[in-house]
Symmetry: C2
Amino acid sequence: MYPTSLNDVIESFKKLPGIGERTAERLAFAIFEFDEEETKEFSSSILLLKEKLKPCKTCSTLTDEETCYVCQDKTRDANVLVVVEDSKSVFLFEKIGNFKGYYHVLGGLISPLDDIGPEDIRIAQLLERVKENNIKEVILAIKSGIEADTTSLYIKRILEKNDIVVSRIASGIPVGADMDYVDALTLDSALRNRKEVLTN
Amino acid sequence: MYPTSLNDVIESFKKLPGIGERTAERLAFAIFEFDEEETKEFSSSILLLKEKLKPCKTCSTLTDEETCYVCQDKTRDANVLVVVEDSKSVFLFEKIGNFKGYYHVLGGLISPLDDIGPEDIRIAQLLERVKENNIKEVILAIKSGIEADTTSLYIKRILEKNDIVVSRIASGIPVGADMDYVDALTLDSALRNRKEVLTN
């Protein structure tokens, strides 16, 4: 029904998460409205992404270079390591800009149901980094859930022998969120993690 | 903050309508998960779209050929012409599949405020087609609004001299829509276009 050239773009867009037929169609028409330069930029950026982007050899954050700019930065606090599931969290932390330590991307979470064990994610590399770099605290910045809890516990047990503080970022009510939309599990967690209100 | 290769894809996605920073980021990561073939297909489909897609020389619907497949089809009803604002409407009509006449894409609507006059859209070509092809009815399938009303009236006046029926598709409550979500203008139009309920 669509001309082939239009159909091909629509089909490619439909492979992306959350993009249905109607949205894919709308986006394809929008690309048709792009000027020549924008079109070339879009097309080549997709190829370059696959060609250039790869995990940092130290922390596994996606980067265009051998070592990501965080690991290259020697002025950061070498005592603290934030452990995340994937690169997206690193970019999010960097957007906030407050954290000035280093990162370690696990590349997944331990999940016996999915046959993913500790050896399938970058835990051995974490242990190695911790031993080699005199790290004092490992902060786990991973989502809530059974896999995350299993992974946290496993990392805690491995690292406690090395006298390292293992903490996990707080779960609770998102800042600015309306109480009406908070789910029960989050509310329960927020309640358990309550803090005394101080007057000064 | 992002690696350049990732940033370039995110920036391209952000040029598309309805795609903000977070969605663009999510889509760029999804492309990184594509296999090599999917990536190449996506990249080249974008270039091919701009290269191949062009208006049909008869009706101006976007097509990969000189003449679109509708205009090529000589078995259709040559007496009826559906006039639309852009190609998207043609594809929508073809999806329904009930209409078996031909189309005419205006490429815009008359809008004095935006300095778009009758000579800026394909009205002269419409008149020419109507005269040449013994067309009996022109159905205007354009959205509601001032520009659409102006355009409708203009086309009506031009074509009535040629003894042609000019009709406009009904506006009203979308099939299956909840009454709670219908806006006042639509309700008003639906009321004015009411039809007597028949028993057989």
